[in-house]
Assembly symmetry: C2
């Protein structure tokens, strides 16, 4: 139980404490949400939302993977993936092929159309990266990516 004594202004009101600004968790949530808004604009030109696009990229990086593997890679429940996969298939950005050895499972692959969509947005994605890291030098950017990886490891380990 906290025994934190709130600082008070003369009229008894709780004084602004600015607790949030020093919290890594809060800042990550906040920046993450802002990033998603901008990514929405970028990916909308190929008809995708950020989550859908990242699944497309993961399939490109793991050709022939199953949905269960994808769920692990993306850190989401398998049910979360279903509408995303459905959307990508509907746009013919991926194709599903039943496994020869396990008829419950389907290999996922990016189609030529899917690769075209990735190529189409990649320049804007790179430009967005430039904007994001505009105020950081090469060393700071490397340190940021490294710290984010450590933070993510901590999150997944717990």
């Amino acid at each position: 139980m906290s025994k934190a004594a709130h600082q008070r202004t003369p009229d008894g009101a709780v004084a602004p404490r600015r607790d949030l600004e020093g919290l890594v968790g809060y800042q990550l949530r906040r920046v993450g949400a802002e990033v998603v808004k901008e990514l929405s604009r970028i990916f909308s030109v190929v008809g995708l939302a950020p989550g859908q696009f990242s699944v497309l990229m993961l399939i490109a990086e793991h050709p022939g993977c199953f949905q269960m593997e994808l769920a692990r890679l993306a850190n989401v429940d398998r049910s979360t993936l279903v509408p995303m996969i459905e959307r990508l298939a509907q746009l013919k950005f991926i194709r599903r092929r039943q496994s020869d050895t396990d008829r419950r499972a389907f290999h996922l692959r990016v189609t030529a159309r899917g690769r075209k969509a990735i190529d189409q947005v990649m320049p804007d994605l790179r430009a967005f990266e430039e904007t994001l890291t505009d105020a950081l030098n090469a060393r700071e950017k490397t340190a940021l990516l490294r710290s984010l990886r450590h933070v993510e490891d901590a999150l997944l380990r717990q």
Copy 2:
């Protein structure tokens, strides 16, 4: 338009490229989503979701503020705030008082019950911070917060 030539495996498939790992934007979205999942667990003990709790904290830091100010502080549309404010008022964590000078607007303040809720979760929030930054030394943590602030500035400026 990108002229990126995809590397291919002998059978013609697109080779894994690991493009995502080096993208700050992607990592921020990913880590932000993970943070939200853990914050959901932490705040659920007082009946709040992460967004709701951060609005509560913002009101605590800006006593007497209006919803329009809050929307700016939280970087969300004013309509997004309505159900959050409603939830906080329903739990009696905040109270609304009509402004004397502008009868369209309502001053928002955290109640004693709201402060109690903040105090109740703060220890867990601090512990979560510890876990998050476990692998970072003091200098790295400061650098991370500083870089996140720069990235957010870039996002809000564009």
